[in-house]
């Protein structure tokens, strides 16, 4: 595990948490893993747990899967969600999601890994 990812997103998913990096100086949320804050250029970033709520930024229903592992799931919804804390993540979604919709993160296991699946907003962020 690289310094960049240690304690980060993948480990969070395995523990059924959505993690994002936050700048220790200005508090800005970062999208994806960074060495330097996108906002103030400070170099200390800490991984934090997100509350799991967010808003749908983009949607697609995939019919042509890239591998056998995902061919079993087609058609499946992929979404980009802007988390309430400000970071953007990609995950699966329930079939009815639309851009602008409030959503909550859930988790499912597929092919030996835990993945995100967003559904319409609920008050229990750890529901699957």
């Amino acid at each position: 595990m690289s310094v960049l990812q240690s304690g980060g997103y993948a480990e969070g998913l395995a523990a059924r948490r959505v993690r994002f990096q936050r700048c220790a100086a200005c508090g800005a949320a970062q999208t994806l893993a960074r060495y330097v804050c996108v906002s103030c250029r400070h170099e200390t970033l800490e991984w934090a747990d997100a509350c799991g709520h967010g808003v749908v930024n983009a949607v697609t229903v995939v019919s042509r899967a890239p591998s056998d592992l995902f061919r079993a799931l087609v058609p499946y919804m992929l979404v980009i969600v802007t988390l309430e804390e400000g970071a953007r993540v990609m995950g699966h979604g329930t079939p009815d999601l639309a851009i602008g919709q409030a959503v909550t993160a859930g988790f499912f296991d597929h092919g030996g890994q835990t993945l995100l699946r967003f559904g319409p907003r609920s008050d229990d962020p750890t529901a699957t």
């Binding site: 994806l32 697609t60 499946y76 992929l78 980009i80 990609m90 890994q113």
Partner: protein, 382 residues
């Protein structure tokens, strides 16, 4: 600073070249480009080479030079996804302008269709996504572009039929090009009814995977076909991954284009030919609109009004683009440059545009609208 000219160019047919390796295809293109430029091997003192996913060699440029009996004073490979071709042409121009090289051979080729399985190709390309946040979801390049399309269409009101219009137009152009991969004419209905890939993109909104190669010579002197200089160049790199794209209306394309146009001291309206990267119909639409060849949400309307027709004000991708001429990786993006040069030098044959554009604009994009390279070509008056 001295000028740098596109002196010669050659592209193989795109499509299926069963049994040809990446090097075989590159050799065919290089031979054609040297002949086109009327240069012998010893005159080539620079070689820039694009990567090939089917041949991940550490030193593709010098490997090629050994096989092809070239002994340049400057050589390396370059990788910038779909923007590689335009980036190599930009670098070749800078090497010539700086006096480092006299004649730079810029080449790329790949047996992307016949050299690997479709799944393997799609998997390789999908790795432009973030390894932790994006790729593990079963995402692919079409899915990344589809996600981006959903947002862009939501914000502009573009319809799927608007995108489809570009697939029809590119096929119309490829239908009269003997080297094109896909040549059967298609209708708007055909695009709309084609197999779903990743909504809103359907099979005919996506470029094919092809075999093929392209080579060009950038030189201190113009060649026998006319004096076409690379008069401007610019790049912009704002993000790598789709999740990190901050604004679907500002991907960096306009910044790159503005830099290139400013260097050439020209504006978008001066461009009489356009060669714009079109991996998907959404790619082409967004690039035309962000750069300013069409107002937001209006690229398809401009297309319908004839602006981008071969006989229109700004002929676009008259070879059929990636969508129909085909896409074999780096060479796919270079084919736009070859076609622009052929059209500017009157070598368009049955595809020759009537206007013989004085200035042409080229744009390549790599990743998910991540890396942008723009070039301006200008014809010197004889």
């Amino acid at each position: 600073m001295r000028a740098a000219y596109l002196r010669g160019a050659f592209g193989t047919a795109f499509g299926l070249h069963e049994g040809s390796s990446a090097l075989d295809l590159m050799a065919q293109a290089a031979r054609g480009a040297l002949h086109s430029a009327r240069l012998e091997r010893p005159a080539v003192d620079g070689v820039l080479c694009g990567y090939a996913t089917t041949m991940p060699h550490l030193m593709l440029s010098t490997l090629f030079c050994e096989r092809f009996a070239l002994r340049p004073d400057y050589a390396h490979s370059l990788q910038l996804g779909g923007a590689t071709g335009a980036a190599m042409l930009m670098l070749a121009r800078e090497l010539v302008r700086a006096g480092r090289c006299h004649n730079v051979l810029v080449l790329a080729g790949e047996n992307r269709l016949s050299g690997q399985s479709r799944d393997s190709s799609i998997q390789t390309l999908a790795q432009v996504g973030d390894a932790q946040v994006e790729v593990p979801n079963g995402a692919s390049v079409p899915a990344y572009y589809a996600l981006m399309a959903s947002r862009y269409m939501h914000d502009t009101g573009l319809a799927e039929t608007d995108l489809a219009q570009f697939a029809v137009a590119m096929r119309e152009r490829a239908a009269v090009h003997p080297g094109a991969h896909l040549r059967s004419r298609i209708s708007l209905e055909d695009v709309m009814a084609s197999k779903p890939i990743s909504t809103p993109l359907k099979l005919l909104d996506c470029c094919p995977i092809s075999d093929g190669a392209v080579a060009m010579v950038v030189s201190r002197e113009p060649g026998p076909h006319g004096a076409v200089a690379v008069s401007g160049a610019g790049q912009a790199h704002r993000h790598q991954h789709l999740c990190a794209m901050e604004d679907v209306f500002d991907t960096g394309a306009k910044s790159a284009a503005n830099a290139a146009l400013a260097e050439a001291d020209l504006g978008v309206d001066d461009m009489g030919y356009l060669g714009v990267y079109d991996s998907f119909t959404i790619t082409l639409t967004m690039l035309l609109e962000e750069i300013g060849f069409a107002p937001r949400g209006q690229a398809a309307a401009c297309l319908r009004q004839g602006q981008f027709d071969p006989a229109g004000v700004q002929p676009l991708n008259t070879h059929g683009g990636l969508l129909s001429y085909g896409h074999c990786g780096v060479a796919g993006g270079m084919a736009h440059a070859v076609e622009a040069w052929l059209q500017m030098t009157g070598q368009g044959g049955s595809r020759q545009i009537p206007s013989r554009a004085r200035h042409a604009f080229l744009h390549g994009d790599g990743g998910v609208m991540s890396s942008h390279v723009s070039l301006v070509l200008s014809q010197e008056e004889p």
